[in-house]
């Protein structure tokens, strides 16, 4: 485990990817933990976080103890591999496919890691920050509204 963050009443465990499967198996099986449900996985792309650009975020829920926690795993863009947890939580099958589809994170050990939302022959991974949103300018009452990703940004 790398670090633990508590923010807005929610706890996040940063786990090294090589320990992920053992970690989540303990989450599920320890009587004091009993996190029966994994609510999926979500990718986040931080291009500025060199060496750990891709994050995979797993929310867990325990119905027995009525608790939640979050596990976060990182991997570098050059080696986008994270072990699959579908053996422990079969519910993550489609969620991992979705994260692979959108971010290009390869979940090693997944039974059939294929694209799920985008067409099979789609190039690129659309949710990454370097992937453009796309769009066309729209004319409205004589003025031209640029596509959303070319509008003025205030951040």
């Amino acid at each position: 485990m790398e670090k633990v963050v508590v923010y807005r009443g929610e706890i996040t465990f940063f786990v090294r990817r090589e320990h992920l499967v053992a970690f989540v198996a303990a989450l599920r099986d320890e009587p004091a933990l009993r996190f029966e449900m994994c609510m999926g996985v979500n990718g986040v792309h931080y291009p500025g976080d060199v060496g750990r650009e891709l994050h995979a975020v797993y929310p867990f829920q325990s119905i027995t103890h009525n608790r939640r926690l979050r596990v976060e795993v990182t991997c570098p863009d050059a080696d986008p591999h994270i072990p699959s947890i579908t053996k422990v939580y079969p519910a993550n099958d489609w969620h991992e496919r979705e994260t692979y589809d959108f971010f290009g994170i390869i979940f090693d050990g997944h039974p059939s890691l294929t694209r799920i939302e985008m067409p099979d022959d789609w190039p690129g991974h659309p949710q990454r920050k370097d992937y453009p949103l796309g769009g066309i300018p729209v004319e409205y009452k004589g003025a031209e509204v640029p596509p959303p990703d070319q509008r003025r940004s205030y951040t």
């Binding site: 807005r8 609510m39 929310p59 939640r68 939580y89 519910a91 489609w94 659309p126 205030y154 951040t155």
Partner: protein
């Protein structure tokens, strides 16, 4: 004419080199390593030769994405042995619109407009989940005015009834009970009329906003909601009288689409499917939000794990929601519906004008004629938006289909850095194979209807 026949070129004989290597998926047949694959589209079965001695016959049927009984653009890939399904796969993605990506290019408030369009039968839940997440990031959960919270609960529970009505209506239609369809959509119309009256729109209303709701609800409107409820109750009874204990309906649903508690846990299934296994798990009770702990209602369960149990749960949940709606109407106290904090709260106190749009003549008068500062503030907040502290949160609500979770990441700017929705339909659809393998084709339709997936939510 007869003398020309001899010289007419017979196009059928024309061939060119390499033609046999081109695979046309719409062609009658082509060779693969596993044997000959025939593509048939109906009415041409007798053109297919019987398999050779010792060769196995596999029939793969594509059901959807344009099939009327697959609940929208869901594609089911069924491997059949006669009428029995031996393997089920779901093909999704036909309604993927990139909502999450689009949200990263709009302000936090504009995100509501996208969120509401995901699961188009439960717009208020999408909005509520998103807004609860944004409010958690802003750390203003406790500052939301009481009246706004009550209105949120009111709209969400009306929305639960309308969503379940569609679930029963389309589910009934898919199983051949067309009267259930006409009843369900007729009753839903009453609720959509309420939505239109309160928000200006029947669907996709973008009504719940970070900090409160977009516009107040008037006493006149409350009165009209109260007048609608008895009619709605009476008509809801029609639907349940039609189907509960109906021999044909039970024949199609009892014992069908079986998924027990262990299966639900492994597949992360929530909502009516989980409750049909007897586990009374409901986030409104387990982890209350929007003050649900102050409302009296029961969590509907069944112990049959089948389609009929889920149907009974939906019927009962509509009655429970009706109880919550009545309690919410009684709780409505005069007060603001948007947070007082001027940095977040929408500057105008909108009300629906004669044109059906949100208007506020006093506010327009103030910013256009009286206060330059108010105009600048309005302009900044509406175009630039508000900044949200950096961090990440997960917020969840109990939508009619199960746990609708939202994972929001902020980098401190005026736009979401990443917004991800854990839509219950997406997750629950994974259980199709577990429910359908080994059953009849007709039972697949019943099982999918009981999952009640909405493809807008699945694909986002």
């Amino acid at each position: 004419m007869s003398d020309m026949t001899d010289e007419t070129v017979m196009t059928d004989d024309v061939s060119f080199e390499g033609a046999e290597e081109i695979i046309d998926p719409y062609a009658l047949s082509y060779e693969t390593t596993e044997g000959t694959v025939y593509t048939v589209s109906g009415g041409d079965w007798d053109t297919i030769e019987a398999p050779d001695e010792g060769q196995k016959e596999r029939i793969v049927v594509n059901m959807g994405p344009q099939h009327p009984s697959t609940h929208g653009v869901l594609r089911l890939i069924l491997e059949l042995e006669g009428e029995t399904v031996t393997e089920t796969r779901c093909g999704i993605g036909y309604l993927h619109t990139g909502i999450e990506k689009n949200m990263e290019f709009r302000t936090w408030t504009q995100g509501v407009t996208f969120a509401t369009r995901m699961d188009y039968l439960t717009p208020f839940y999408n909005e509520a989940a998103y807004c609860l997440g944004v409010e958690k990031l802003l750390d203003i959960t406790d500052e939301i005015p009481e009246r706004a919270t009550v209105i949120r609960v009111l709209m969400m529970e009306l929305n639960r009834i309308s969503s379940h009505l569609v679930a029963l209506a389309t589910g009934g239609m898919e199983l051949g009970a067309l009267t259930a369809m006409t009843f369900g959509f007729r009753e839903r119309e009453l609720i959509l009329d309420i939505f239109e009256m309160v928000t200006g729109l029947r669907m996709n209303s973008a009504y719940i906003r970070p900090g409160g709701v977009a516009q107040d609800i008037t006493d006149d409107q409350v009165q009209r909601i109260r007048e609608t409820l008895p009619l709605l109750k009476k008509r809801m009874k029609d639907t349940s009288d039609l189907l509960v204990d109906n021999a044909i309906w039970m024949g199609r649903t009892v014992g069908i689409g079986y998924l027990d508690l262990a299966g639900c846990m492994a597949l992360g299934v929530t909502g009516p499917i989980l409750r049909s296994t007897g586990l009374p798990h409901d986030l409104r009770k387990a982890q209350p939000y929007c003050g649900y702990e102050n409302y009296e209602f029961e969590v509907a369960t069944a112990d049959t794990c089948d389609v009929y149990g889920r149907f009974l749960i939906r019927i009962q949940e509509m009655h429970e929601s009706m109880k919550i709606v009545e309690q919410a109407l009684d709780r409505l106290q005069p007060g603001p519906v948007m947070i007082e904090d001027k940095r977040v709260g929408w500057p105008a106190r909108l009300s629906i004008g004669s044109d059906g749009q949100g208007n506020s003549p006093e506010h327009i008068k103030e910013i256009m004629t009286e206060s330059m500062e108010a105009l600048i503030h309005h302009f900044k907040l509406v175009t630039e938006g508000f900044s949200v502290p950096a961090g990440q949160v997960y917020a969840a609500v109990e939508s009619p289909r199960g746990e609708l979770g939202v994972h929001l990441v902020s980098d401190g700017g005026t736009r979401p850095y990443r917004a991800h929705f854990r839509d219950p339909s997406f997750n629950n659809l994974q259980s199709t194979a577990a429910m359908c393998d080994g059953s009849m084709v007709s039972d697949v339709v019943a099982a999918v209807a009981s999952i009640d997936p909405v493809m807008g939510g699945v694909d986002r």
